[in-house]
């Protein structure tokens, strides 16, 4: 039986003086890819941070595999690989050093072969692996960060605008990676502006506005999601 991997229950988060999430609830099942769409300031990234236990939740709960992110943040984080919008890696280190360092912090001990395999799978040019990240383009950094997320081999993957800055071919490669991870039971929660990309890879798409989940669209039997319906609702919400 499929279990709940991520569960938000009446989640309320205030950052500064602004209520960013106001009573948001949803579930993501194990092995499911759930995409959250929304405009700027809708609360997409905040939702991910709440699941990481990185924010003070005013009310409600964010749970990962049955554990509260607020109450047991360290244990929860060990089950999550998180990919921020701008690849958050060290510029003074090269790709191999970044991967080795961050993985050692999570107590993972991948060998050189696994590192190389991950970097190859995201199509990062081999001659750049030992160059400091400060010489990388945004896309190359993003690929390195994706490789790190893959190497973590965690049951949950949180992605914040994962295809931002990637070229179309890299976006296609990335979608394949996400589909592959989902097929082996990894739960993926991604937040994005990219409606078409989300509909291509996600099993369900949630539309977020002003900290609340407005609607959820599921894929049909063929795996297709009604893009037009989402787009219309999104535009309607924006106009309101």
């Amino acid at each position: 039986m499929t279990e709940i991997a991520l569960q938000a229950t009446d989640l309320k988060v205030i950052r500064g003086n602004k209520t960013v999430l106001s009573g948001m609830s949803f579930q993501v099942m194990q092995g499911e890819v759930f995409a959250l769409l929304g405009g700027n300031g809708a609360g997409k990234s905040t939702t991910l941070l709440a699941f990481m236990g990185l924010l003070d939740v005013v009310d409600g709960r964010a749970e990962v595999l049955g554990q509260s992110a607020a109450e047991d943040a360290v244990a929860v984080r060990s089950k999550i690989a998180y990919l921020p919008e701008s690849a958050a890696l060290y510029e003074h280190l090269n790709a191999i050093e970044n991967l080795t360092y961050f993985l050692s912090l999570s107590q993972a001990r991948p060998d050189a072969k696994a590192l190389h395999s991950a970097l190859e799978s995201v199509n990062l040019p081999k001659d750049s692996w030992t160059q400091p990240l400060k010489s990388y383009s945004k896309g190359m950094r993003q690929k390195t960060a994706i490789a790190l997320a893959l190497l973590r081999e965690t049951p949950v993957l949180l992605l914040d605008e994962p295809t931002s800055g990637l070229d179309p071919a890299a976006v296609e490669d990335f979608h394949k990676i996400v589909e592959k991870l989902a097929s082996i039971g990894v739960t993926v929660l991604m937040v994005t502006h990219d409606l078409y990309g989300a509909c291509q890879v996600a099993h369900r798409v949630g539309l977020l506005r002003a900290g609340q989940l407005v609607d959820v669209f599921e894929a049909d039997e063929d795996g297709a999601i009604d893009i037009a319906a989402i787009r219309d609702l999104f535009l309607q919400q924006q106009a309101a």
Partner: protein, 480 residues
């Protein structure tokens, strides 16, 4: 590997690849080495000078010809304070107080009354010594190196990645602190090297203090390390972190010691040197002039002495009564002088106590007190020198008075300026002053220094606990 060590290791790797960190590290090494070199050169030069001056003073004193002993009382003698071996690390108040005293009868001179008001004793910015570098400059360099240790992770969003790997916030901050702490350890190397290479009297006793001194500086720099990382974790940007930490440095290192000194002067004021001297002269006058055996102040003494020896006149006494009056007069004068000196020392200690109470607001005040106490350059060491010099002066003067009392008759003594033969008989053999023991200051013992340093050490432990509390608080508040 432990996540704390991993984070510390990566922070050090970042510094190794950072121009700013290399600049700070180079400055740290240059400052530490220069401070050690300058201090060592200066202290050695002064020590040599004092040794030479003391030897010259001893030689001149011992080379005095046959004289009347009371002329030797007024001829006087210089004694010099030899610096403690660890003064190469911390010159303390040595540069602000006298290190030589002219000893003579009926007076306590120079170092004792030259600084009747302790103006700014604790508020000076300090000499360029390893202690000054460690207390003032190293924290600044640690701030420059560490102010962005956590804010950098926030600004570059790598904090998400770090925390996302499942490490605890406290582990992250402890790792950052450990890296910064290793820089602080580097700064201590010149101190340890200087301490171990120091020479001088009682060096073995002082080496026992070196361990405590090193530990104290480690404690002090640890306070700064925890404070720097704690602030960097609490604020949002590197600019805010640098501003807050520089503000803390300016207040605690530059302003607070001056405020403490000024407040101590106001709260426990000392009379001026003129006021002190006038009051002392008045008190001394009421005790009589011991040069004049007919002074009314000594009539009681005469009556009691005649009665004790059962004689009718001072000429019948079995000793020179004039020398006896000089002996008793010096005894009474010294009692008054010591009373004034002790009053002044009590006032200075009260000023120090008031100034030290500001260590609750700034750890550098506690560190200074701790460092000066263990290096033997504190106020209590200066007072110890003054008391030892006074004891020596009193013994010297009284030995001459005893010579006057027993080495000649009253008749010769009274006629020595009018009768050449009497004058010749009252000039005593110069061997008497050649045999005078030379002045040798025994410094306070290691145990006494520890006792003096203990309160400041306790306050620094409290500061460390507060700084650690701040770090834990920052860990709980840390948000990406």
């Amino acid at each position: 590997m432990n996540p704390i060590l991993l984070i510390a290791n990566d922070e050090l790797r970042f510094w190794r690849r950072s121009k700013l960190a290399w600049t700070v590290l180079t400055t740290l090494v240059v400052v530490s080495v220069c401070a050690a070199f300058v201090s060592n050169t200066e202290v050695s030069r002064r020590a040599q000078e004092r040794l030479a001056q003391q030897a010259e003073a001893d030689a001149i004193f011992q080379a005095q010809p046959d004289r009347h002993p009371h002329r030797m009382v007024h001829y006087g003698h210089y004694v010099y304070r030899t610096a403690s071996p660890l003064a190469v690390i911390d010159s303390g108040i040595n540069s602000m107080v006298g290190t030589s005293i002219f000893l003579e009868g009926h007076r306590q001179n120079t170092a004792t009354f030259a600084s009747a008001r302790e103006t700014g004793l604790l508020s000076r910015f300090g000499n360029f010594s390893p202690a000054f570098a460690l207390q003032s400059l190293v924290p600044l360099l640690l701030i420059i190196c560490g102010f962005a240790s956590v804010t950098r992770e926030k600004e570059n969003k790598t904090l998400y990645q770090l925390i996302g790997q499942g490490i605890g916030n406290t582990s992250l901050l402890l790792g950052k602190s450990l890296a910064l702490w290793s820089l602080a350890l580097l700064a201590l190397i010149p101190l340890i090297a200087l301490g171990l290479s120091a020479t001088g009297a009682d060096i073995f006793d002082f080496r026992q203090s070196l361990g405590g001194l090193t530990f104290g500086y480690l404690l002090y720099l640890s306070i700064w390390v925890l404070l720097i990382v704690g602030v960097s974790a609490l604020v949002r940007t590197s600019t805010q972190s640098l501003s807050v930490l520089l503000g803390v440095w300016i207040v605690s290192v530059v302003l607070m010691p001056r405020v403490a000194g000024a407040y101590a002067n106001a709260a426990a004021p000392s009379p001026t040197q003129i006021e002190t001297n006038l009051r002392l002269a008045e008190t001394m006058r009421s005790g009589g002039d011991s040069h004049d055996i007919e002074d009314s102040a000594f009539m009681d003494l005469r009556e009691r002495t005649l009665a004790e020896y059962n004689v009718e006149s001072i000429e019948e006494l079995p000793f020179n009564y004039r020398g006896f009056v000089a002996l008793r007069g010096e005894e009474a004068d010294t009692e008054v002088l010591n009373q004034f000196a002790e009053e002044r020392m009590v006032r200075e200690l009260e000023q120090k106590r008031v100034a030290d109470s500001f260590s609750a607001l700034s750890p550098i005040i506690a560190m200074r007190a701790f460092s000066m106490a263990l290096t033997g350059t504190a106020l209590q060491d200066h007072h110890h020198f003054l008391r030892a010099a006074e004891d020596y002066r009193y013994d010297m003067v009284q030995s001459f008075n005893r010579l006057q009392m027993t080495g000649m008759t009253l008749a010769d003594d009274l006629a020595r300026n009018t009768d050449a033969e009497s004058g010749r008989r009252t000039r005593l053999d110069a061997a008497a002053w050649r045999e005078m023991p030379v002045f040798e200051l025994q410094p306070l013992s290691h145990a006494q220094r520890w006792q003096a340093a203990s309160q400041a050490g306790f306050i620094m432990v409290l500061w460390l606990l507060v700084a650690f509390g701040l770090l834990l608080f920052a860990g709980r508040r840390l948000q990406a």
